[in-house]
């Protein structure tokens, strides 16, 4: 579905010094700065996959999305999306893709969403019957039936996002690019959007490329993760394996009533980290040890609360963002294997 080989994109900007003299200087002599946004990127995506494209701000995720959709032209490398070269922007290609940008509205602000939908119906040449059914099906699923005839500028962010999603799916695209679709939404709205995407994918088996900073989105939707750091690929593999990058040990947390408990020699044998208040401990355990050690602690100490990690990938992601070298080492080791 998507084949990227040594894909690169660099931007040129100009250096400008401070103050009026700087402005004057740059008027006559500009110093170009070439910044590489994506560097030698390889990626292969099969039909029906849901890929999470992750990375810190400025890593090159959006640049990749823009290249995949044909909005910008790659500087180097080969790219084929559904058999088309996106930068040629053929109408045939544009009919097969869709892009949803969480930070940017694609619906026209001054008119109701339904008017935008009818315009898109004409653009994508969707037969009337199919169009009606699609609007009916999606608006029911998203619970936005009453909002179709309200001016878009009067809608809340969550409501608008649902309509944006609808707009992008009307023409039954084969690939959909979701660029932070849940950004700025409340927890319920986030979950609604996620459930909708999941349900839509289950029914239509389309290919989805998703970027998000919310690990809950990724956890709920993606089977495969692609990590990008400073324009290069850091990790590419199943979600389950990603959780184990930092080791296969599980973290268990215990909270105690008593502060003095950490002095007990029992803890010395365990891989434990205490919080500042000395009331909570994180213990890293192998899967086989998990049950025994946990029940031992529960029996021995005045535990008032305990839990295992709710979202291991969030922790992995945080660690990697703070220290990208881990992943780069990891991927080079993988390569050696």
């Amino acid at each position: 579905m998507i084949e990227a080989i040594n894909l690169s994109k660099s931007f040129t900007s100009y250096k400008k010094q401070d103050g009026i003299t700087g402005t004057l200087k740059s008027f006559f002599h500009r110093v170009p700065i070439k910044k590489s946004a994506v560097n030698q990127f390889n990626l292969s995506i099969k039909k029906g996959e849901i890929i999470g494209l992750l990375g810190p701000n400025g890593a090159g995720k959006t640049t990749l999305m823009k290249m995949f959709t044909g909005i910008i032209v790659p500087s180097e490398g080969e790219l084929l999306v559904n058999g088309h070269r996106p930068s040629e922007r053929s109408k045939e290609f544009r009919k097969k893709i869709a892009l949803v940008m969480g930070q940017k509205s694609q619906l026209w602000w001054d008119i109701p969403a339904m008017d935008s939908f009818s315009l898109l119906q004409k653009y994508y040449e969707i037969p009337e019957k199919e169009f009606r059914e699609k609007v009916e099906y999606m608006s029911t699923l998203l619970g936005v039936k009453d909002l179709l005839h309200v001016h878009v500028r009067k809608l809340s962010l969550g409501e608008r996002m649902k309509l944006e999603l609808m707009a992008s799916l009307l023409h039954s695209p084969e690939i959909i690019f979701l660029d932070e679709p849940t950004i700025g939404l409340d927890l319920v709205a986030q979950e609604n959007i996620r459930n909708f995407i999941k349900e839509y994918h289950r029914k239509n088996n389309i290919t989805i490329i998703l970027t998000s900073h919310y690990m809950a989105d990724v956890q709920a939707l993606c089977d495969r993760l692609v990590l990008i750091f400073k324009g290069t690929k850091g990790y590419d593999g199943p979600l389950n394996d990603f959780e184990k990058i930092l080791g296969t040990k599980k973290s268990v947390y215990f909270t105690f009533k008593d502060k003095t408990i950490h002095d007990d020699s029992y803890w010395n044998e365990l891989d434990s980290t205490w919080n500042e208040d000395r009331t909570e401990v994180e213990i890293k355990l192998d899967e086989q040890q998990l049950r025994n050690v946990s029940s031992e602690i529960l029996a021995k100490f005045p535990v008032i609360e305990f839990h295992t990690e709710k979202m291991p990938i969030e922790k992995v992601m945080k660690t990697l963002m703070a220290n990208p070298d881990i992943i780069l080492d990891h991927s080079s080791q993988e390569g050696e294997k």
């Binding site: 931007f11 959006t62 823009k66 959709t69 044909g70 909005i71 910008i72 032209v73 922007r89 109408k91 544009r94 009919k95 893709i97 869709a98 892009l99 940008m101 930070q103 940017k104 694609q106 026209w108 001054d110 008119i111 008017d115 935008s116 009818s118 315009l119 898109l120 004409k122 653009y123 994508y124 040449e125 001016h151 660029d179």
Partner: protein, 265 residues
């Protein structure tokens, strides 16, 4: 057929968008035209007040005001359109959306332009009705009116292409409004919208006749006054300039889209 439907629907949507903020639209379109007209009215009445029966290059006071009333109507139809949204679309990265639709950016904006022209035409007709009712315009035949408006529409195509060109320069320039202001002022002087061309040196006017400017206002006003003598020349010169701006637009767009970074997408 499907393509025609796309254009038609885009025109309908643009119509709703233009009329969504009626007061705003009115202030933007009619406001400047009326203000501009009153400035010119005061200017010429001051000039003629010294000698009320003076004739300047064939224009007495009544004739001069009549000329400027027509420039108001011509201005609405022939040069009403601005490409304000266009460069903003580029600068803020909004054209990304259009680049993905299977309907091109230029098609979208051209369809919008057509619906804008229809709206402007309605406004021009209403203004004309008012001017006729209060007796500012007297002699007028239906055929003159038809030929005059057709001519204005033809000229507006050139004006649109020129505006489009300033708009897509937004690929390189942060702001393009000053370009449009310069264009507006230059066009104002050279097209005869401020001073009728009879008042300029003949040699200069002969030169101007090869540029598109006099056909933006001066000649359309002549047509509305029943003088068709320059129609063929006007048709050819404007056709030439339409060709030039069309090719330029094509080249600039091609180069610009390669440079486009979709900032802020």
């Amino acid at each position: 057929m499907a393509n025609l439907l796309k254009w038609w629907q885009t025109m309908r949507i643009s119509w709703s968008r233009y009329t969504a903020y009626r007061l705003n639209f009115f202030l933007q379109v009619i406001g400047p035209a009326i203000v501009f007209f009153f400035i010119k009215y005061s200017l010429w009445s001051a000039i003629f007040s010294q000698e009320p029966h003076k004739v300047i290059q064939g224009y007495d006071f009544q004739g001069m005001i009549n000329y400027h009333v027509w420039t108001l109507i011509v201005g609405l139809v022939a040069q009403g359109h601005t490409a304000m949204n266009l460069s903003e679309d580029i600068r803020l990265g909004r054209i990304s959306t259009y680049l993905i639709y299977p309907f091109n950016f230029w098609e979208f904006h051209t369809a919008s332009f057509f619906s804008f022209q229809i709206l402007q035409f309605c406004i021009a007709l209403i203004s004309l009705g008012i001017l006729l009712a209060i007796g500012v315009i007297s002699s007028l035949t239906l055929s003159t009116l038809c030929i005059g408006f057709l001519f204005c529409f033809y000229v507006s195509l050139f004006w649109y292409l020129l505006q489009y060109l300033t708009g897509i320069l937004g690929f390189w320039l942060e702001e393009t409004w000053m370009l449009r202001v310069i264009l507006q002022i230059v066009a104002g002087f050279l097209s005869g919208a401020i001073i009728p061309l009879e008042l300029y040196p003949q040699k200069f006017v002969a030169f101007l006749n090869y540029t598109p400017f006099p056909y933006l206002t001066y000649y359309p006003v002549k047509v509305f006054s029943g003088d068709y003598s320059h129609l063929m020349q006007a048709f050819l010169v404007i056709a030439f300039w339409i060709g030039i701006t069309f090719v330029l637009n094509h080249l600039v767009w091609k180069k610009g889209i390669k440079n486009y970074t979709a900032a802020g997408m």
